[in-house]
């Protein structure tokens, strides 16, 4: 097992290097000039050239790449071209809200979606199953920002229960932290609850036709035990896979949610950096996202044997 983990970790290195080089090259080939953004719309060509020189953007691309890689090897992601702030610090500042949003969303999703999926499978073809599946189609089809606006309208504007926007760290107290998190988590969870409930239902229905379920029932096990101990455990692998994919796709999901609820997270930072062509920030973020993707996949792979002992590494 340990050897497998080490092998997988080592395999991430070439992937990260490739991502770094490709992102670096793509950014330089994309139209856009950070100097033009810094100087403002009415800058002359001479002023732009001066700024490019001062930031080293006039150097050949390969020289800029070598310089960046040399910095990376020392653990330095560089500084933002616009604000002059270290990229590592910017990512650190923005990591909290995104992490909290992602973890809360996945937790809420698992807590709600799996029981819903199991219930739907248990009552397959009946009214409850149809109701759950109709709701899941709704949750799956309505864009996150629409759900976000509806929640804000209802709970913030009409009821006055919760703030419209913003983020407070836990260090400011649990109340301010939680009240700003409820609506974004609900909005972002909807789609994942719908997705995971559907996958759970179909996985369990598939397992329910297996011989061992019939054997369990023949042995006199009650329906609850059949569902939870026999069916759910055996259906766990596809569910776990989809949760892993969901966590990875949350990285893109948070962009919209962070904008609608004004959360100062990584999603917003990506959009801002791309629009401003802030190369070091984009590069740093994409490296971080690649690393997160790889780590989530690794974690999911390592969890498989927990649910299915037939899988060994």
């Amino acid at each position: 097992m340990l050897a497998y983990v080490v092998r997988r970790l080592l395999a991430t290195l070439p992937v990260i290097v490739m991502v770094a080089v490709v992102v670096f090259a793509m950014l330089r080939l994309t139209p856009g000039d950070p100097a033009a953004i810094i100087a403002g719309n009415d800058a002359t060509a001479e002023q732009l050239q001066q700024i490019r020189q001062s930031m080293g953007l006039d150097k050949p691309i390969y020289q800029q790449l070598i310089q960046w890689i040399a910095q990376l090897l020392q653990g330095d992601l560089g500084v933002s071209l616009l604000s002059g702030t270290p990229v590592l610090g910017m990512i650190g500042d923005r990591m909290g809200p995104s992490l909290v949003l992602a973890i809360s969303t996945i937790t809420l999703t698992v807590i709600i979606a799996i029981p819903l999926g199991v219930t739907a499978a248990w009552r397959q073809g009946r009214l409850l199953d149809r109701a759950i599946m109709t709701l899941s189609v709704f949750g799956f089809s309505v864009p996150t920002f629409v759900i976000g606006y509806l929640l804000v309208y209802l709970f913030s504007i009409q009821m006055g229960w919760l703030p419209v926007q913003g983020y407070r760290p836990l260090s400011d107290g649990f109340g301010p932290f939680a009240e700003r998190l409820i609506l974004p988590v609900l909005a972002l969870s909807t789609v994942y609850i719908a997705l995971i409930a559907r996958i759970t239902r179909s996985s369990i229905i598939e397992v329910m036709g297996e011989d061992f379920i019939r054997t369990a029932r023949a042995k006199g096990a009650n329906e609850h035990v059949v569902l939870m101990r026999h069916a759910l455990r055996n259906a766990a692998v596809p569910i776990l896979t989809i949760i892993g994919i969901g966590m990875a796709s949350l990285i893109s999901g948070v962009v919209v949610t962070e904008s609608v609820f004004n959360l100062p997270g990584l999603g917003r930072l990506v959009v801002e950096a791309v629009l401003a062509r802030d190369y070091p920030v984009i590069q740093g973020l994409i490296l971080l996202f690649s690393f997160i993707y790889i780590m989530i996949n690794l974690a999911v792979d390592l969890l498989y044997p927990v649910f299915d002992p037939r899988i060994r590494y």
């Binding site: 139209p31 856009g32 000039d33 033009a36 953004i37 810094i38 100087a39 403002g40 719309n41 009415d42 800058a43 002359t44 060509a45 001479e46 002023q47 732009l48 001066q50 700024i51 020189q53 001062s54 933002s80 616009l82 604000s83 002059g84 702030t85 910017m90 500042d93 606006y149 804000v152 913030s156 504007i157 009821m159 006055g160 229960w161 703030p163 419209v164 926007q165 913003g166 400011d172 107290g173 649990f174 109340g175 301010p176 939680a178 009240e179 904008s259 609608v260 609820f261 004004n262 100062p264 917003r268 930072l269 959009v271 801002e272 629009l275 401003a276 062509r277």
Partner: protein, 532 residues
């Protein structure tokens, strides 16, 4: 809605709030009186000499002060300067600093600081660069006074030092002002009415200012950037919100106090709220315009530029961009209507859409069907509509048009490309600017007409360049107005710039705020807030 229902609803809300906010009670810290403002974008570039971004400029007015200010009658007034004296030959200006000026680190402001700041500003600024060709010497006389000696009389000196926008001449400590003008400053200490709180700065997200308790405001009432900058609150925090709908909801919910610019489509929401006031603070407003590429066909042909200008109608653009006539006005003046250099020349050319006239000119110019590449940014509401209306008008007149869709930052990069359209260049792009920036021949970058050295579009009209120099040397207001009228005529006749009309963008704020000053720059002095 019954009383019982309401009572139940608010009782539930109250219970919910109590449950969530227990930590507030235990924290028990008294919060300072703070204005939370949603600005048009996040502050990222902090150096007001390096960047002309509006946010950078507004940040500059918070923490720095200017030697001179300007009021709503376009009169130049002393600000950091107690007064200035002019020699009989109008070539020597002596500036005397006010008593009590201090930097945010408590060091006194000295005349050497002002001299270093003016020199750095003049290296970058369009007015400053011309001004320096007319300056023979800038010298420190003592800690409180300095002298600027001119080679010949000019009004540009006072105009430049009182410049409202697009690189005002902010005064910084000498050690900071000695940073090369091509590099951004790293320390943000001014002598202005607010102090920058570095520990709370989140680039692009939030910037916090606290009241500068050592600031000594002038005695006169505040008026634009002149007069007493009296701060009545402890803190001002600017936040950026990528989604304007969220900003409007937050204002309605009392989470923010002020929105600098409310999008036109969301105005009905805030106008319907009795707790919110909607007001145009920048009454000078903005002008929108388009530029031709003078270097390559088809618009290296003056007749075709004229044809395009006849085809495009300002009403069509303004209706699509703004919608509500309360906030827009057709205007042919390249220095803006309701400004000292307003002009009606070109009214018949640029205001109505005259497709028949455009067709005649197209025929006369023997237009060969060369496609017109129009750059079309889609990510910014203020600039995304104009290209579509322009393209439609040009097509009606008989032009072949290729609308190229891209994001705004790509437009900004593309607009500097002097190559022909076949090699990635362009023929038309449009944008907008504030009239605080564009109200004279030096602030208005579109009238520079020195060919490939000019701003994007590169018109080559030596007569305009000569007139700009004449303007720099003129000291009589009537003479200056005459010169700008001539520039207006040339700019329209030669198709240097195509004005698309003027508009204002209202701000919205909580009625808890009072004393908000109308000004082309959003200023936070003079404002009082009821409650925290």
């Amino acid at each position: 809605m019954s009383y019982n229902f309401l009572a139940r609803r608010y009782a539930t809300a109250f219970t919910f709030k109590i449950a969530l906010s227990t930590a507030y009670l235990f924290a028990g810290s008294a919060s300072a009186q703070t204005i939370t403002a949603v600005m048009q974008s996040g502050l990222r570039v902090m150096d007001p000499v390096v960047s002309t971004a509006f946010m950078t400029r507004d940040h500059g007015y918070m923490i720095y002060d200017t030697l001179l200010g300007i009021d709503s009658n376009f009169e130049i007034r002393p600000q950091m300067a107690e007064r200035w004296e002019v020699s009989a030959d109008q070539k020597t200006y002596t500036f005397i600093l006010r008593d009590g000026l201090k930097w945010h680190d408590s060091a006194p402001v000295k005349s050497e600081d002002a001299v270093a700041s003016i020199k750095r500003w003049a290296e970058k600024d369009s007015t400053g660069q011309v001004l320096m060709t007319l300056v023979s010497e800038i010298k420190v006389l003592d800690d409180k006074s300095f002298q600027i000696v001119l080679k010949e009389p000019t009004s540009l000196l006072l105009d430049g030092l009182a410049k409202l926008s697009s690189r005002p001449a902010f005064i910084m400590p000498k050690r900071i002002a000695e940073t090369p003008s091509s590099e951004s400053i790293k320390e943000f200490i001014g002598s202005g009415p607010f102090k920058f709180v570095a520990s709370e700065f989140k680039p692009g997200l939030k910037v916090v200012y606290e009241k500068n308790k050592d600031y000594v405001p002038r005695a006169e009432p505040a008026n634009w950037t002149a007069g007493g900058k009296v701060v009545n609150v402890d803190r001002v925090q600017w936040v950026s919100m990528p989604d304007q709908m969220t900003a409007v909801n937050a204002l309605q919910n009392g989470e923010v106090d002020f929105i600098q610019q409310v999008p036109f489509d969301l105005l009905p929401m805030v106008e319907a709220n009795s707790d919110v006031k909607v007001e145009v603070l920048d009454k000078l407003g903005n002008w929108t315009y388009y530029r031709f590429n003078h270097l390559h066909p088809p618009f290296n042909n003056e007749l075709l530029r004229q044809a395009a200008m006849h085809a495009v109608g300002q009403d069509d653009v303004l209706k699509a961009l703004v919608g509500n006539p309360k906030y827009y006005k057709p205007c042919p003046a390249i220095f803006g209507c309701d400004t000292p250099y307003a002009s009606s020349y070109g009214q018949d050319v640029v205001v109505p859409s005259n497709i028949e006239k455009a067709k005649e000119l197209l025929k006369e110019a023997n237009y060969d069907g060369t496609p017109v590449i129009v750059l079309h940014p889609t990510d910014l509401a203020m600039v995304s509509v104009q290209p579509v209306v322009i393209a439609s008008a040009l097509r009606k007149a008989g032009f072949k048009v290729d609308l190229k869709t891209m994001d705004w930052q790509t437009v900004v990069t593309q607009q500097g490309n002097q190559k022909p359209a076949s090699e990635g260049g362009w023929d038309i792009f449009s944008t907008y600017s504030t009239l605080a920036t564009s109200g004279n021949p030096f602030g208005n970058t579109t009238v520079a007409a020195n060919g490939t050295k000019a701003w994007a579009g590169w018109p080559d009209v030596p007569e305009i360049e000569a007139l700009r120099l004449e303007f720099a040397r003129a000291t009589d207001p009537t003479e200056r107005k005459g010169i700008t009228d001539k520039i207006q005529k040339l700019a329209i006749d030669k198709g240097v710039v195509g004005p698309l009309g003027q508009f204002t963008v209202p701000a919205a704020y909580s009625r808890k705020l009072s004393g908000i000053l109308p000004s082309p720059i959003t200023v936070f002095w003079n404002i009082e807030k009821a409650g925290k």
